[in-house]
Structures are given as C-alpha cells and as structure tokens.
C-alpha cells in the first residue's frame, strides 16, 4: 500500500527534476530560433531561384532563336548547362539545409518529441540522398539518429539540450560544405548563375544589334521581349543572387558560432546571427520584387 502511494510521488519528483534540469538558456534558444528561421527563409528562396534561373535561361534562348540567325534551328539546347538533373541536385541540397533548420526549430519551439524525430528523420534522409560532391562523410548519421531518438518523456529539456548540441556539432561540417556550394552557385564562375549571366549577356547584345537594323523585321517582337528579359535577368543577378551568396556566407559563419553558443564557449557571438537575419530579411524584400 505504501509503495502504491509512493509511486506517484516518485513520478512527480522525476518530472520536477526534468523541468528543473538545465535545458537551453534564453540566449541559446534565441540564437537557435533566429538561425533556424533565417536558414529556412534563405533556403526556400534559393530553391525557388534555382528553378527560376533555369526557366529564364530557357526563355532567353527561345526568344533569341526566334530572331537570331546564329542559332541553329535544330539546336534545341535551350537550357545549356542547366539540365534537369543538375538543377534537381541543387534543389535537393537547399532542401537538406532547410530540413536541418526545421529540425533546429523543433528543439526551441516546443515541438512534441515525435515531431522532432520526424524532422530528424527527414534531415537524415536528405543527407543520405545528396550527391557525392555534396556529401561529407555521413558515418555520423547513425549516431545522429540515436541521439535524437534518445529524447524521452522525462528529463525532456536536458535531453533536448544534449540533442541539439550534438546535432549542431555533428552537422556542422556538412552544413558548411553545402553553404560553400551555395555561395559558389550564386556568385562564382562555373556556378549555376554564371549560365544566366552568360545567356542574358549574349541575348542582350544579339537583341540590341538586331533592333538597331532599320526597317520592319519579322523577329522584332521577340527581340524586344528578349532585350527586356535580358536586362531584368542581369539586374536580378546583381541584386538577388549577390544577396543569396552573401546570406549563405552569413549562414556558414552563424552555423560555426552556433556550435560555440550551444557549448557556451563564446560570451558574445551574437553578431553573426543578427547579420544573417538582417541579410535574409532584406533579401526577402528583393525576392518579392522579382517573383511578383
């Protein structure tokens, strides 16, 4: 009888211990939350932009083919270097970064543990699905899964903290690598946006030369449209793509700082989170202009 009475008390004590056990402090929660929100927004925009860039390259080349004699009528290579497979590969990479950010949100937004585990499984599956050049050694994923499934019903806050510290530390290298690829794609030569710059520049010059010729010409409407679209594409690259590249650099830095914040190593490392947040907010406004 005594045992039966004691049992609820033991449970209550255990729950109290769970509540009182050291979870993430306010600053850590704020850092994780800010980082996760910015990372989700950035990678959502980047994913849409990969698709938009490919569509623009196709549209520019189709318009140019309609008026320029330099285009071989049989040559239907309208997407040039941006084929479907390469585009899908890039979209997968930003989806991976997004799923990582969603998982982090779960730790600070009081998600049910099953939902957190679902987000973790999604991230793990995305990482496993990455191409070889995108993936860092993924042996850590087995340990990663164990850490996340270890979140139980008691000592929740303590276990959540242990899990988020481990998740961020284990994913750090992979996230940094994907950020590097994003930076290259949106600013570097050989990157994805280089194709848009090359195509838009060629289209603009071809359309301008065509429109300078006097008299009515059959391809005039296409040349006018190509000229406008080419200008918009270069403007989009200079404003939006440069912004995505810059934000990806901030994400990489903030990701490094997050490791230290969670391990309580740095006293004031919050500047990078603010930079990341502000860059993404400004970027969202720019993106709205180009996607309306």
């Amino acid at each position: 009888m005594k045992k039966l009475k004691l049992f609820p008390a033991v449970i209550a004590l255990a729950l109290l211990a769970g509540c009182a056990s050291p979870g993430l402090n306010k600053q850590q929660k704020r850092a994780v939350s800010s980082y996760a929100q910015s990372a989700q927004a950035l990678n959502g925009m980047a994913g849409q932009e990969f698709l938009a860039i490919r569509n623009q390259v196709i549209e520019l080349n189709k318009l140019t083919a309609a008026f320029s004699p330099t285009w071989d009528a049989e040559d239907k290579d309208f997407d040039r270097a941006l084929n479907v497979v390469d585009t899908r590969t890039r979209v997968k990479a930003v989806a991976t970064l997004r799923s990582y950010a969603e998982l982090l949100s779960g730790f600070v937004d009081d998600w049910e543990d099953d939902r957190i585990k679902g987000a973790a499984a999604n991230f793990v599956s995305n990482v496993r699905d990455l191409d070889s050049n995108q993936k860092i050694d993924d042996n850590y994923l087995n340990v990663f899964e164990k850490v996340v499934t270890g979140i139980g019903r008691i000592f929740v806050e303590k276990k959540k903290k242990e899990a988020v510290v481990a998740v961020v530390a284990m994913s750090h290298e992979q996230v940094a690598h994907l950020c590097d690829l994003l930076i290259k794609d949106f600013s570097g030569v050989g990157g994805y946006t280089s194709q848009l710059v090359t195509t838009a520049s060629q289209t603009l010059v071809a359309a301008d030369s065509y429109l300078r010729k006097s008299g009515e010409q059959p391809g005039r409407d296409s040349a006018v449209e190509a000229y406008d679209l080419g200008q918009l594409a270069l403007q989009r690259h200079a404003e939006l793509h440069a912004g995505i590249s810059e934000a990806a650099e901030h994400m990489k830095q903030a990701n490094t700082d997050l490791v230290d914040v969670l391990r309580e190593k740095k006293p004031q490392p919050f500047k990078s989170f603010a930079h990341f947040k502000l860059t993404v907010e400004a970027l969202a406004e720019t993106a709205q202009y180009y996607t309306r």
Partner: protein
C-alpha cells in the same frame, strides 16, 4: 579578395552595358566580337572546378582587372571603347588559357 567568378561576371555584364550604349560603327562591331569570345570562354568554365593561385588563374584575374578599369572609363564616356576592345580581347585570350588547363 578577387575571385575569377565575380570578376568575369562583372566584366561580361559591364561589356554588355557598354555595347548597348555604344554608337553604331566598326568599334562597336569589334567589341561585339570580343564579347562573344569572352562569353564563350565563360560558358566553358560552367560547372568546372577551378584551382585558385595557379599562374593561369592569377593571369586571368589580372587581365580581368585591367579590363574592368577600361570599362569604367567607357561607362563614363561610351565613345571611348577602343581601349576596352583591346583589354577584352586580352581577357578572352587569358581566360581561354585557363580553360585549356581544365580539360
């Protein structure tokens, strides 16, 4: 730090703008030719890994920076495109040499 990607994108975009505002004539036609050369080289670099710090890489950066300086002059006065033609031709040649090291 200068990277070839940023420089090449900017030089190609600036050359495009100078061509759009340049008066008709043989100088513009010549610049259009060199623009086509440079954009072909840029096309060849897409999806390639470029090692920084090689002789060819540094030469390409230097040529693009020289071209960029002349483009600034031409952007202020579109009648001054003769100097740009020479620099873009040189940049296309040097970037072409970089491309050939990647094959």
């Amino acid at each position: 730090m200068s990277t070839i990607g940023k420089n090449l994108n900017e030089v190609l975009m600036d050359t495009t703008m100078v061509i759009l505002f340049a008066p008709d004539g043989p100088d513009r036609d010549k610049l259009v030719e060199e623009h086509a050369n440079l954009s072909e080289k840029m096309q060849d670099l897409i999806d390639k890994s470029i090692m920084e710090g090689t002789v060819e890489y540094d030469a390409a950066i230097a040529a693009l920076e020289e071209a960029s300086e002349m483009l600034d002059v031409a952007k202020a006065d579109v009648n001054k495109i003769v100097g740009v033609i020479e620099k873009i031709a040189k940049a296309a040649k040097v970037v072409g040499e970089l491309v050939s090291t990647l094959a």
